[in-house]
């Protein structure tokens, strides 16, 4: 019975105006996003080939991550150039910092399209599931025919999920296939696995919003009030809660401003150079002091910043949308955790290079080790929180479906 209802839902979706408008929108946006982000990735790759360190140079540059096409996250920050010198690390940011308009609006990557547009689409599929049939009088007829309520609800859920997921999977699959044909973009087996996980997560995310839509639909009498409520919930979940959470966390955890840190670094090295010129101590000892003080600053900041990140993550998880974003970016290797690990690697690299510099009498060497960042293995990423976020998202989806079942069992179909 459930399957019959699911089939009926799919067929009626296929005949509706809503379905075409929505699928067209989602398809066009996904395609545009793939195109734009692929092109952006290629340009960053071309830039990387210009700026990549020559063998022996004490410079750390991480190539852009191909998964950033799907979830850009902090890849821009991880693809900066870190040049190690005796007075510290010189950091240079890429192309985006030359155009302030980039800072005004969010990046239109696949994650953004899913997070914002697909969630809305899923809600629009769910919002009138019960109220429409009630208004049309078909709900009574269906239930009068001894179809169980649970079969109706499950059938509706499954039918709508499939009519959403199949076109979506087709569009995304096509996009990924086009990417796969591109000779400039190479995914490793690990990255393919990560990509598959991201797609699974996306389906969980859609399921969550569909369940939410059906839940509100079973709690309201009219489709028009259901849509209004859902839009408000959507704005709260997608835009307001996650964006407010970080600010709230910042009120609670005291973190030194990044500007204060940069200024301190500046003061440390100018002070040490001055002391050296005045003849106090030899150069290597000053270089070591600069490095040690900078590392202490970084370590102190890291501890406080991690506290801030954890708190803001926990606050933001009030909205499962935030969980989704955290899980996807971490799996893609462009998340906050990955960036922290990368930064620690840069610090280690700096210390290795400094060791080499200090070992030679003129503080110079022609051969420095090359920098190679290894992304954290997938297992560790999942254990570090991505798995929890996925489960959290799925749990909300199941919870909402269960609630809508409870509400539907008591629903007055007259």
């Amino acid at each position: 019975m459930t399957w019959t209802i699911a089939r009926k839902e799919i067929l009626s979706n296929l005949l509706s105006y809503k379905f075409y408008v929505i699928i067209l929108l989602a398809a066009v946006l996904a395609a545009t996003s793939f195109f734009v982000m692929t092109r952006d990735y290629k340009e960053r790759l071309a830039d990387y080939s210009l700026i990549r360190p020559k063998p022996g140079e004490p410079v750390a540059v991480n190539p852009p991550n191909p998964l950033s096409i799907f979830a850009k996250g902090l890849d821009e920050a991880m693809a900066r150039s870190f040049e190690v010198g005796i007075t510290g690390v010189t950091v240079r940011a890429g192309q985006k910092s030359g155009n302030a308009i980039f800072a005004f609006f969010p990046t239109p990557d696949f994650l953004y399209v899913v997070r914002v547009v697909l969630s809305l689409v899923a809600l629009l599929f769910g919002f009138d599931q019960v109220s429409r049939e009630k208004e049309g009088g078909t709900l009574r007829l269906m239930l009068a025919n001894q179809t169980s309520r649970s079969a109706v609800l499950l059938g509706k859920w499954a039918g709508n999920f499939l009519s959403l997921a199949i076109p979506f999977a087709l569009v995304t699959g096509l996009g990924i296939a086009v990417l796969g044909l591109d000779p400039d973009i190479r995914f490793s087996a690990d990255q393919v696995l990560r990509l598959a996980l991201i797609l699974v997560l996306t389906l969980v995310y859609i399921a969550f919003f569909l369940s939410l839509g059906i839940l509100i639909s079973t709690l309201t009498r009219r489709a028009s009030s259901s849509v209004v409520i859902l839009l408000f919930i959507w704005v709260l979940l997608v835009f307001i809660l996650p964006n407010l959470g970080t600010l709230v966390a910042r009120q609670i955890v005291d973190v030194p401003s990044v500007r204060a840190l940069s200024e301190k670094r500046e003061q440390v090295w100018t002070r040490e150079i001055l002391l050296r010129i005045k003849g106090q101590g030899d150069m290597p000892s000053h270089v070591l002091t600069i490095s040690a003080e900078n590392d202490a600053l970084e370590a102190d900041y890291r501890v406080k910043f991690d506290r801030l990140v954890n708190l803001s993550k926990n606050i933001n998880r009030v909205s499962p949308v935030a969980s989704f974003v955290y899980a996807v970016t971490e799996i893609a290797g462009t998340g906050i955790g990955e960036e922290g690990a990368f930064k620690s690697d840069v610090v280690r690299y700096k210390n290795a290079v400094l060791g080499k510099m200090l070992a030679s009498p003129d503080l110079k060497s022609s051969e420095y080790p090359a920098f190679l960042y290894r992304y954290r293995p997938l297992g560790r990423v999942l254990a570090a929180g991505a798995l929890f976020d996925t489960a959290w998202l799925a749990a909300f989806g199941v919870l909402f479906f269960a609630l809508s079942y409870l509400a539907f069992v008591r629903y007055d179909v007259r």
Binding site: L50, R92, A100, I101, P106, Y112, L244, S262
Partner: protein, 475 residues
């Protein structure tokens, strides 16, 4: 008659469910945001004064002219408007080792964000059934059967709906402003209030645009469920898609030279290549000088130099000439390399400015971008302020440069043998950088095109709604 319909529209909206939800949402979100941003602003003030104190401490022991530039650099200061609008806040700091990636993940919320995203959606939620809904209810037929002119109906609808929409916004804003007023640490000046009034006017135009758009869409549809679908589709495109895509499209159309490569080249020119050139010039000129003053050939320590100078006026002249030559050689090296750097930087800057301009132009297709630029420019937190800061920073740089030259000249007159560039000196009489926002007049002038554009967009959609409604089949 119009007044009656406007009144009916307003009353109809006010008792509606969506009005109550909107009111509740805004009454919570706007004051909470203002409260948090106000605290954030006060924190930033504390941070700024703490940093200033640290710089002062540093200067007392280690303030030497050779490397003081980066430490005394002009920095933007927190401004009172930050308790409402964050704008282009420099937290992300990608150009330094210490960066804060959190706002990249979730952009931080502020008044501009609330208006741009929430108010535009609310406007469409209010408008989607303005015509199609009344048709479904059958009241449109009745109204028009009573001899009401269609232009009056549509005009009253837009006016009534738009006015009602502004009520929850203004109410929540007033409560938010109370937070700012009672906070003793936040000191809003007359210009800030004026700017806020103008931003509110911009908000009204922005919201009216979306309301007009919603009524237009509603009068193209015969069922309200289809009309909300189309409205949301258009909203997604205008609000979420166009602004985000525009800088990317601009960067494809108008590429810029590799920033990191240019930066490195500049670093090389001002560092190793400058040192090589300086040393070369110095060696050449010293050779000529030694031919003239043989006393320079013996490499004396500073103390010996002093002794010789006191005894022998001719040697004094020689050391004076040596100092001048050294200074001259390094000045020459700095000048030559500075010229090269300026050329490279300028070429890159022109390209980047062209790309920024193009991004801005493309994004203006969306009223969201128009409103964002207008509001951030008016509150001195946007692009215009960055340019303004660049200008005042450059002025200050020059003032400090002049001070530095004067001070060094004074010190060298006292003791010509000492390396004053690398000696800590008392800089308490230095000029200090005090950040002042651009005068309101300039900001308003910059925002004018934005106002006109929003008004223009709004009028176009109102006209379209009007035309569609005139030929709407009300049966």
């Amino acid at each position: 008659m119009i007044a009656t319909i406007v009144k009916k529209e307003i009353l109809g909206h006010i008792i509606s469910f969506r009005f109550i939800v909107t009111l509740a949402l805004l009454l919570v979100v706007v004051p909470v945001t203002t409260f948090i941003l106000t605290n954030d602003y006060l924190k930033r003030i504390d941070d700024a004064s703490l940093r200033q104190a640290e710089i002062e401490t540093y200067l007392r022991s280690y303030g030497h002219f050779n490397r003081i530039g980066p430490i005394l650099q002009a920095r933007p200061a927190p401004i009172p408007f930050h308790s409402l609008v964050r704008g282009l806040a420099p937290d992300i700091n990608l150009g330094e080792f210490d960066n804060d990636p959190l706002p990249v993940m979730f952009p931080l919320i502020d008044l501009v964000f609330i208006v741009a995203i929430v108010m535009s959606l609310v406007a469409l939620i209010f408008a989607y059934d303005a015509v199609s809904g009344e048709k479904e209810d059958g009241t449109l037929k009745l109204m028009l059967a009573n001899g009401l002119a269609r232009p009056k109906v549509i005009l009253a609808k837009v006016a009534g709906g738009g006015l009602t929409l502004l009520v929850p916004f203004l109410l929540s804003l007033v409560i938010g402003l109370l937070v700012i007023l009672v906070h003793p640490g936040v000191d809003w000046k007359g210009a800030d209030w004026l700017a806020l009034a103008l931003i509110t006017l911009g908000t009204a135009l922005y919201v009216m645009f979306f309301y007009g758009l919603g009524v237009f869409i509603s009068s193209r549809h015969h069922s309200s469920s289809a009309s909300i679908m189309t409205s949301l589709l258009v909203w997604v495109l205008l609000v979420l898609v166009v602004p985000s895509l525009s800088p990317y499209i601009a960067s494809f159309l108008s590429p810029t030279p590799s920033r990191i490569q240019v930066d490195r080249e500049v670093g090389r020119l001002s560092d190793t290549e400058r040192d090589d050139l300086g040393r070369k010039l110095l060696a050449e000129r010293t050779r000529e000088l030694i031919a003239k003053y043989p006393v320079l050939a013996q490499r004396l320590s500073e103390a010996d130099k002093k002794r010789v100078m006191e005894r022998d006026p001719a040697a004094r002249e020689a050391f004076e000439a040596e100092r001048k030559t050294t200074q001259g050689a390094w000045d020459e090296a700095n000048r030559v390399q500075g010229g090269k750097i300026e050329d490279i930087r300028k070429a890159a800057r022109l390209k980047e400015e062209a790309q920024t301009k193009l991004s801005r132009f493309i994004s203006m297709a969306s009223p969201l971008s128009v409103f964002t630029y207008l509001a951030t420019d008016l509150s001195s937190t946007g692009l215009r302020n960055e340019a303004h800061f660049g200008r005042v920073g450059a002025v200050w740089d020059q003032a400090f440069g002049a001070y530095q030259r004067r001070k060094i000249a004074d010190l060298q007159a006292k003791d010509p043998t000492k390396d004053w560039w690398n000696t800590p000196v008392d800089m308490s009489d230095r000029p200090r950088f005090v950040y002042a926002e651009e005068a309101l007049g300039g900001r308003v002038e910059a925002a004018m095109p934005g106002f006109l554009l929003l008004l223009g967009y709004g009028l176009v959609f109102f006209a379209l709604a009007y035309v569609s409604f005139l030929s709407y089949d009300v049966r």
